[in-house]
């Protein structure tokens, strides 16, 4: 059966991809032992960007408020940790749960509108939460940030040390698991319907499928992933700041996603790594030069590489192998 052959080929490709992520992650561990805290932040943000890809790339819903889901996870894990729940795995699950609930709420609100009003709703939600977190300073620490967390050792063995080795490896493991699960989700019947909704909602409804519950489900999944990212950041840095639930973080996530290419999952990772590495270098020199650069890069992407880096690489690869591909048909 050709089906099983192609199925095993996709499984093989997925395993290869996971191995590649693990390899790059471990290489980072050996090459930059002094920057593990930064690399852990990269992983945390990568989870956020992955979660955004689920909504933007797979469902075609533009959002500038993904920070709401990330921040919900970060604050939930942080607050739980301050109040004595210190098991890191449990904290991640709490963050995931909080993100999922926030995803449900956000989806229920955003899916009422389309186009610009929908985009505005996404921004308004993240700003509202930002203000709420600022106001509720007795719970969240307000503008000083939430501190005083001390997560227990991972699995009762690995301490979260000063160099952030445990946190980084924990994050890398989490990323691999989430990535594998999302590969599976995007290849499920549900994932295919989402792709269909992005391209033509009318056709989907003519098949007898309701769009709203499908999209809402994706918001919940997206919230789960973003919430885990936020929780990871809380555990690793042991501080949760107001910036974790902000328009800036949401807009940056979108930029990273577009830089890497939407609707790929891999693109989300590539975009995050490149963006944050550049930011690490350039923003250290002058944050405003960094803004100019990001702006210029965005304009360049729209003008010259609308499918992002991964899409453009795909296209290049296809152009290079086109003759072979044609002959194979």
């Amino acid at each position: 059966m050709p089906m099983t052959a192609s199925a095993s080929r996709t499984v093989g490709r997925d395993l290869l991809g996971l191995a590649l992520i693990a390899l790059v992650g471990l290489a980072g561990y050996w090459l930059f032992p002094d920057n593990l805290a930064f690399l852990t932040r990269v992983i945390s943000v990568a989870l956020l960007v992955l979660s955004l890809d689920l909504i933007v790339g797979y469902c075609g819903v533009a959002s500038l408020g993904q920070g709401a889901l990330y921040g919900a996870g970060a604050y939930a894990a942080g607050i739980a940790c301050v109040h004595g729940i210190t098991d890191p795995v449990l904290l991640i699950l709490i963050g995931a749960g909080a993100g999922a609930i926030m995803g449900l709420l956000m989806g229920a609100i955003m899916l009422r509108a389309h186009g610009l009003p929908q985009l505005v709703l996404s921004i308004a939600i993240v700003q509202l939460l930002h203000e709420a977190a600022n106001k509720a300073s007795s719970i969240t620490g307000g503008s000083d940030g939430l501190s005083g967390m001390s997560p227990a050792p991972l699995f009762g063995v690995f301490e979260f040390d000063l160099w952030g080795r445990s946190a980084y490896l924990f994050g890398l493991g989490l990323l691999l698991i989430v990535f594998a699960v999302l590969r599976f989700v995007t290849r499920s019947p549900f994932g295919m319907v989402c792709r269909g909704l992005k391209e033509d909602p009318l056709r989907i409804s003519a098949l007898g499928i309701y769009a709203f519950p499908v999209l809402l489900k994706m918001f919940v999944i997206s919230g789960t992933v973003a919430g885990m990212g936020g929780a990871l950041a809380a555990i690793a840095t042991q501080v949760v700041g107001l910036d974790s639930v902000s328009f800036e973080v949401s807009a940056n996530a979108l930029v990273m996603l577009v830089l890497g290419g939407i609707g790929h999952l891999y693109g989300a990772l590539i975009g995050t790594v490149i963006f944050m590495a550049l930011e690490h270098v350039v923003a250290a020199i002058n944050p405003f030069h960094w803004m100019t650069l990001v702006g210029a890069v965005l304009i360049a992407i729209v003008l010259f590489a609308p499918r992002g880096l991964s899409g453009t690489l795909d296209e290049l690869a296809r152009m290079l192998t086109r003759d072979r591909w044609r002959a194979g048909r």
Partner: protein, 287 residues
């Protein structure tokens, strides 16, 4: 009573500033269907030009305002030609990216040229003195801002309802293809509307500088506010935008007076509620 009165005046002034800046955005969004996140950047550019002219060159306020409006339009023309034209008719996400990119660039450049500090625009003596209304005194500047808003609203109403260009504009908003078929040069309509929109943004940026202070992050800080006004009012609707500005201005200013430590909480809450109840805006048309 004094508080209620001051809140009322401030809310009206704030709403009018929002209106002057956002109305151009509303019209161009209704017309060209472009989600333009960079509109606030043009208001900011206007503010910087006026500040430079009035404070550093010592020119008169009125001259500074004129320079700001026409200078900003001059800057906007190549941006429209080279960048905006590429995203007309493109998916929303593409437009968002392009215009966010423009915003970021403007912020970075503004900081490089003018530095990160707040820029003031010295107002003439006559605008600084308080004015007595008989029973109350109010700041002349607030009155000036309110008058500017009213003038812009009336001027635009006349421009759109009573001039030949306005007819073409309305036809193009309703149905661009049909208008083009009837001989309206939509390209020209687009270009003129864009220029007017940018000019009004710059004008609003200058006269509203006391309420929305000019600094590099201006373009990002108020981006959301302007977009909110358009989506709450309904793209392309002048009465809708006016209603949205007055409503949101009132909510924002009142909340700042009465519950200052909540920040913009109630503003955004109102936005979410209004958009949920009127997904096409207060006076948006069915599509």
């Amino acid at each position: 009573m004094q508080t209620v009165f001051s809140i009322g005046v401030d809310a009206l002034a704030y709403g009018m500033v929002l209106f002057v800046i956002s109305i151009g955005l509303s019209v161009t969004m209704g017309l060209m269907r472009v989600v333009n996140l960079a509109h606030g950047a043009f208001a900011m550019i206007g503010g910087y030009i006026a500040s430079y002219a009035a404070r550093d060159l010592g020119l008169a306020y009125a001259v500074a305002v004129m320079l700001a409006v026409f200078g900003t339009i001059l800057i906007a023309i190549p941006v429209e030609r080279l960048l905006y034209r590429r995203v007309y008719g493109q998916p929303e996400l593409t437009q968002v990216l392009m215009t966010i990119g423009i915003t970021f660039c403007v912020i970075g450049i503004a900081n490089y040229v003018f530095g990160p500090t707040l820029k003031t625009i010295p107002t003439p003596e006559s605008l600084r003195a308080p004015v007595s209304l008989g029973f109350r005194t109010v700041s002349a500047h607030r009155l000036f801002v309110i008058a500017c808003g009213a003038a812009v609203a009336l001027g635009l109403w006349y421009f759109i309802e009573r001039t030949a260009f306005g007819v073409k504009l309305r036809a193009s908003v309703d149905n661009a293809a049909m208008a083009a078929a009837l001989g309206v040069k939509t390209e020209v309509v687009y270009a003129v509307s864009f220029a007017v929109a940018v000019g009004l943004a710059a004008f609003g940026g200058v006269v509203g500088a006391e309420l929305l202070p000019i600094e590099p992050y201006y373009a990002l800080r108020y981006m959301v506010t302007f977009l909110v006004v358009v989506s709450v009012g309904g793209a392309g609707s002048i009465p809708g935008a006016l209603a949205a500005c007055l409503l949101l201005g009132a909510i924002d200013v009142t909340a700042r007076y009465l519950v200052p430590d909540f920040g913009n909480f109630f503003f955004y809450l109102a936005v979410i509620l209004v958009v949920c109840v009127f997904p096409r805006g207060l006076m948006g048309r069915a599509q």
